[in-house]
Amino acid sequence: MTAAFDAFWDAVDADLARIPMAADLQPLPLRSTDAATTYSVRLTSIGPYRTFGYYSVPTVPPPVPGLLLTPRYGSVNHIPDYMDRERYAVLQIVHRGQRLADQPFAAAYPGLLTLGIEKPETYIYRSIVADCIRGAEFLLSRPEVDTTRVGVQGDDLALITAARRSGFRAVQVADLLLHRLLDTSQSSDDYPAEEINDFLRAHPQSRPAVRDTLAYFDPIHHAARIVSTTLFATSGDTLEPLRGAIGGPAETYSLSYKGAVDHDWLDSWMAHQLGAQPRSRFRVQV
């Protein structure tokens, strides 16, 4: 990408560096078990804006492997899975606008995907990426985390986070949204990609600006900076150019569309990368 791209993201890093994280952990007895203690965590990101996360630590002697979960596209993120909480120091980031981080800004669905999209500097994803990077900084700074065994899991946000912060051993991604978004939106009226079509119907003259903005957030332009082992869970071969652009080792898992089969394979992959035991969510015995 261009020098402008590098300057744009360096400016995000600089903005983050100027603002103390001011982490505030509060234990959540309701969400804790004998096997793991779960906390709410508040972190300050650029803006400044106070974001939210669920952070859970297994009740075993440290250090433990770490796992960062980037937020989904939608208003709600679940508390990390019970099985993950038993194995990893795991942080589920909740970006600004989502529930629990929706004061003073509450995201609209549909609506978030095109908020400020006419300029990369005003696009909401500049701040959302910063929120994810702040989460990475928090997790990688925790004394109970074995910083040689930290993974990140999610969609495009996981890739961009891994590109902006070294320290991840493994990256696992599925359900990419921002990659080739302008192209994929043209072949579907399914949301959230349809938000782009809606916006361009109302503002047809903005297509070049939208294309320019989205380029800053397409993980293909961040891929060369990712040196972690990266796994794409996908179908077909549409992600091959992206996989080929990753700076480190990159693998592909071909989805079977059988959710439990896919979950167990992907869980095992991440567990292997981080030195943990694979777990299935479905109990085969009662």
Partner: protein, 317 residues
């Protein structure tokens, strides 16, 4: 003693049907009927296309809570249209049902209380909804939530472009639950329903079989308050899809993932057993909460088209 699970063969339930179950819901529905719907419908030109007109809608529901939704109708097909009520999952927001409108339906995507745009007066959060007021059936979260879905049906019935004899309901997970409850609470008006991986069926059995959310909310609550389990069971029996099932009269399609950790398949089989209407069951080995949607989607579309006869389907035939 531990044993291997075989959900299809072994799916006992601890759900009990309270003797006053029907009376409880008859009274609630009568209360709701006395509340004027006060529907609003605002065109959203910038979200509309050559094929679909999109509207933002609103209506009043139980306790005076204002409910939001999206409404999409076909632009290139003449009315009347069959109606389709699309009910959302636990953490998802209702999407704009453009693709269903393209298939010939007048489709509503509803946001029951607590979801975005319907949370000004009631907002228990996620997690939170499942256990909100769980000790009191008269104020439990799903009392109003279930009614909100039935009021979306009333919205469809208020529309002149909708054929009132051809209205279906469809959703998965919590949407699967709402498919069952809506068909049960309004058996006069629902022509068919398709429910995937239905949630809110066999609540306590499910919570005992999984640590996945949302049912884990019940486990968390009872870890803190173990003495409240009997009271929780009493409440949940009034809201259990297994107890609603015998009231349903229209054809129903159920599909399940046989390794679903979110809504254990045992509870899906239990509610299927409890249905006394015309019914069909599709199960998927190796599937979890997606319940085989990759293969099931065309089967759902065919099932709904068979019963609701959208013009687009007639053209294709």
């Amino acid at each position: 003693m531990t044993q291997l699970r075989n959900p299809a063969e072994h799916h006992p339930t601890t759900t009990v049907r309270p003797p006053d179950f029907d009376a409880f819901w008859t009274e609630i529905m009568a209360t709701a009927e006395r509340i004027p719907l006060n529907p609003t419908i605002e065109p959203l030109a910038w979200r509309s296309t050559d094929a679909v007109d999109v509207f933002e809608i609103g209506y009043d529901s139980l306790d005076g809570v204002r409910i939001a939704g999206w409404y999409c109708i076909p632009r290139q097909i003449q009315p009347p249209y069959p109606g389709l009520l699309l009910v959302p999952g636990y953490i998802s927001e209702p999407t704009l049902p453009k693709s269903w409108a393209r298939q010939g339906y007048a489709a509503v995507g509803v946001a029951p209380r607590g979801k975005l745009r319907s949370n000004r007066q009631y907002n228990p959060g996620y997690p939170g909804l499942l256990v909100d007021n769980i000790l009191d059936r008269n104020t439990y979260a799903y009392r109003g939530f279930y009614v909100d879905a039935t009021r979306a049906l009333d919205f469809l019935l208020s529309r002149p472009e909708v054929d009132a004899t051809r209205i279906g309901v469809h959703g998965s997970s919590q949407g699967g639950a709402l498919t069952l409850t809506t068909a049960a609470l309004r058996p006069d008006a629902i022509a068919c329903g398709a429910a995937g991986a239905p949630y809110l069926c066999g609540f306590m059995d499910a919570a005992a079989l999984t640590h996945s959310y949302p049912y884990e909310e019940i486990n968390e609550y009872l870890r803190l308050y173990p003495d409240r389990e009997p009271a929780v069971r009493v409440t949940l029996n009034y809201f259990d899809g297994i107890n609603f099932a015998p009231r349903i009269r229209c054809p129903m399609l159920i599909h399940l993932g046989l390794r679903d950790d979110v809504c254990p398949p045992e509870t899906g089989f239990a509610v299927y057993d409890a249905l006394t209407c015309e019914k069909v069951l599709h199960t998927y080995e190796g599937s979890d909460h997606e319940a085989g949607v990759y293969w099931e989607t065309p089967r759902i579309e065919a099932f709904l088209a068979q019963h609701l006869q959208p013009a687009a389907a007639l053209v294709r035939a």
